[in-house]
Amino acid sequence: AADSTVKSVQKRGYVQCGVTTGLPGFSNPDDKGKWQGVDVDVCRAVAAAALGDANKVKYTPLTAKERFTALQSGEIDLLSRVTTWTITRDASLGLNFTGVTYYDGQGFMVSKELGVKSAKELDGASVCIQSGTTTELNLADYFRQNGMKFEPVVFDTADQTAKGFEAGRCDVLTSDQSQLYALRIKLSKPDNAVVLPEVISKEPLGPVVRQGDDQWFNLVKWTLFAMVNAEELGLTSSNIEKEKKSKNPEVQRFINGEGSKALGVPGDWAYQIVKQVGNYGEIFESNVGASSPLKIERGLNALWTKGGIQYAPPMR
């Protein structure tokens, strides 16, 4: 009965975006309160596409356990909060995952002095973990499968989890690997902690929207694809102005905003994304990659052309 989300976002003038309560590299307020990170840039990209202005976003910090309720209830338009794509979530929570912004896997971080080299040695360990995550489920599976015991110590937020780990409440902190790196730099002595090599699960992280609004779903989905495609096409925030004159038909289609009618957004939507936010590679590098404190390798998240699995359907 009501407007589609695209319409109501445009009427309202901003995108309501659910993010974490603070996870460096993904969504974290700096000391001025300005939000930064990959997830935040996704929100900004959606705003750039829908409204032409990447700054028209309101962030709602959510704990892991609030996030789906907040999305279901309509409090937020878009959940961009390191959320793992699983079948239950996709199929039975009334939600739709729009794609994968980051291919992750669950790992372990231990304190160096324990001298543990492999996750297989963790029998009987206390594990700090964030509540309401797939991590919580994977962990149980992994230990059960390997016939090991563990004691879960469950916290509400990433910060608290790190605090608990630091205070020695547990031997291991488990989370998605990217987050482990992010949390590690929050420790007072980051060098005392090591991330174990094992990856025990697939954690494709991506933005989520409510089911039943295909236009909005498509917009978010194609915002992601646009960013990947831009990287593939070599379009960056600095060169896209110049590339406007490019002869490459693919670039032209990109800049002219193929599909804008159906998505219900302005014609330069893809251009605005790259112009104001950047392409996927840029976002990755500046937030979690080499030019960030996290220094995470591209790995799986490299373009399919470069040995990774980031692949976007063509824009035509």
């Binding site: 009965a1 009501a2 892991a64 356990k65 996030r67 789906f68 309720t69 279901q72 209830s73 309509g74 239950t88 979530r89 039975s92 929570l93 009334g94 324990l114 963790l122 029998d123 009987g124 360990a125 206390s126 509540s131 309401g132 995550t133 919580e136 489920l137 962990l139 149980a140 599976d141 059960r144 015991k149 563990f150 004691e151 879960p152 110590v153 469950v154 916290f155 509400d156 608290q160 605090k163 608990g164 205070a167 020695g168 409440r169 031997d171 409510r210 089911q211 039943g212």
Partner: protein
Amino acid sequence: MPSKKKDLAKGRTAFWNDPEKRSMLYQIIMLVILIICGAYIISNTLHNLDSRGIKTGFDFLWSEAGFGINQSLIEYDESHSYGRTFFVGLLNTILVASLGILLATILGFTIGIARLSNNWLIAKISAVYIETFRNIPLLLQIFFWYFAVLRPLPRPKQSIELFDVFFLNNRGLAMPAPNILEGFGWVLLVFALSLIVVIGVKRWAKNRQDTTGKGFPIISVSLAIMLGLPALTYLFVGSPIDWEVPTLRGFNYRGGITVIPELLALLLALSVYTAAFIAEIVRSGILSINKGQTEASFALGLSRPKMLKLVIIPQAMRVIIPPLTSQFLNLVKNSSLATAIGYPDLVSVFAGTTLNQTGQAIEVIAMTMAVYLTLSLLISLFMNWYNKRIALVER
């Protein structure tokens, strides 16, 4: 005033002037408004649920939970159902709340009485205690205690040991757990018997005290009987309990019972905080007792502690109970802050992880609120009953 008589003839009361009919009307209006509001909310909710593709229902309670919980009073592991997580959380809430009530009451009464001590230093320290702890948010205190408890405790390898069976470290306090073997029934039987004996001895001792005035060391004797006889039987039937002593294996002590530090910290925070309020209640309850009662007790030669015990506190209880009840209720509700430090209470386990894994917000929140309402109601009922029982008999 004949003019008045005319238009106010009896029996022709306009219905809005008849208080009964008027109140009827008000109530009907109120009901209608309530029903409309209710219907509006429900229809909105249904519509919203539908348009957002959320399925409702309690089926999820029977599906496998798949996550671990680090403290459970009933058997639980990942393969149990979400429904069971509800009971795990519920029991954990009840555990911390009831221990908290017990501790807070003891501490609160002690400090409330100490506040009135004629030792200047003690009175002042109690005052400082009260003013400090009741004026700082509980959440902050919970964080404080958590880190205050965690920080000085060693890692498991360097545990503080007591008698080689208790081990204290930052994973908690590991204690031996009893494994009951065959023959233990005898011990229980003897224990029951010794209870009966003790009751008999108590009767006899009271009788003797009443008739001859001679006291009898009833407490030590009954303790001896209650502990000694079963202990002898225990040895006689060949120690039918296998104490499972925790041992350090891998990262931590295995086996036995572990009291996790979250429980300890939460318990400390809740009881220290609530005790400050209870102390004030106790103090004002005591002060509300007429000065004449104190004077009469002194005039009879009672000492101060006896006066408090026999005369003042029993009377002050009447004044204390109602506000004490609301402190108990507050404590139960405040135990929900457990979630801040990861103690697996109802809010943390059920309204937290389970809600999140299943996405059934309405059902889960409704069940959680119902639990707190029920707990509150039970406590109120009990305290009201108790208060009635101790009410003064008057003409």
